[in-house]
Amino acid sequence: MLIGEQLKKIREEHLLSQENLAEILDVSRQTISNWENTKSYPDIERVMRMSEIYHLSLDELLKGDTKMVQSWLDATDSKRTVKQLVVLLLINLLALIGLLIFNQNIWVAVSLMAILAICVVSCFYLLIKLI
């Protein structure tokens, strides 16, 4: 059984509406609907909250939905994040070298600075995403 069907079944067993559950988990009703239709997966924290609400273990709640587990693994794939960080830092380095060479042309310099800033913000975003 997919996690969506499983979540719907358990919610109905506990006589909760999508609105009720959405309120408890602090998400929108549409989000609950998306989970139940397997359009998206709940994050690990929300699944933990649901396991508390339904008094079920995570094992019972997930019931072998490997797809969702894979989506979590992708979300916390630190190897991929490290690769992305390395690429961004290389672009950063190139932009910095370019800035040192072409700093006489204001527009080239501004463009390179913008690239530099985007890379730095992206690096920061990747790190914050992991927290």
Binding site: M48, I106, A109, I128
Partner: protein, 106 residues
């Protein structure tokens, strides 16, 4: 005139640095508390006070093995803080660009 603008941007930048550091402190504090890591306030202060993201890297390595305990967590605040810290960081970057443009131009 340019000097006044320069000083104004510099002051805004300093403020933005403090805002980023404060929001990062709150985010790390929340995460460390949810993971039951010892001395979350001190740890988050050290992480938020470092530069080049090395503090965040160290924290990510340190928190391994400390799972989130759902009752201690606050997902709504966590998401809010993540967005706030990113937005303030973007603002800081924009101010930095403005400052550099002014320095390069004059």
């Amino acid at each position: 005139m340019n000097l006044i603008v320069l000083i104004f941007i510099l002051i805004l930048m300093i403020l933005a640095v403090f805002v980023v550091a404060y929001l990062l402190w709150r985010l790390i504090n929340l995460d460390a508390t949810a993971r039951n890591i010892a001395h979350p306030k001190l740890l988050s202060f050290l992480v938020a006070g470092t530069q080049n993201g090395i503090g965040i890297f160290t924290y990510l390595a340190l928190r391994r093995g400390h799972d989130i305990q759902a009752p201690l967590d606050n997902p709504k605040l966590r998401e809010k803080l993540k967005i706030s810290v990113l937005l303030s960081y973007v603002l800081l970057m924009l101010l930095t660009i403005c400052l550099l443009v002014i320095i390069l131009k004059y």
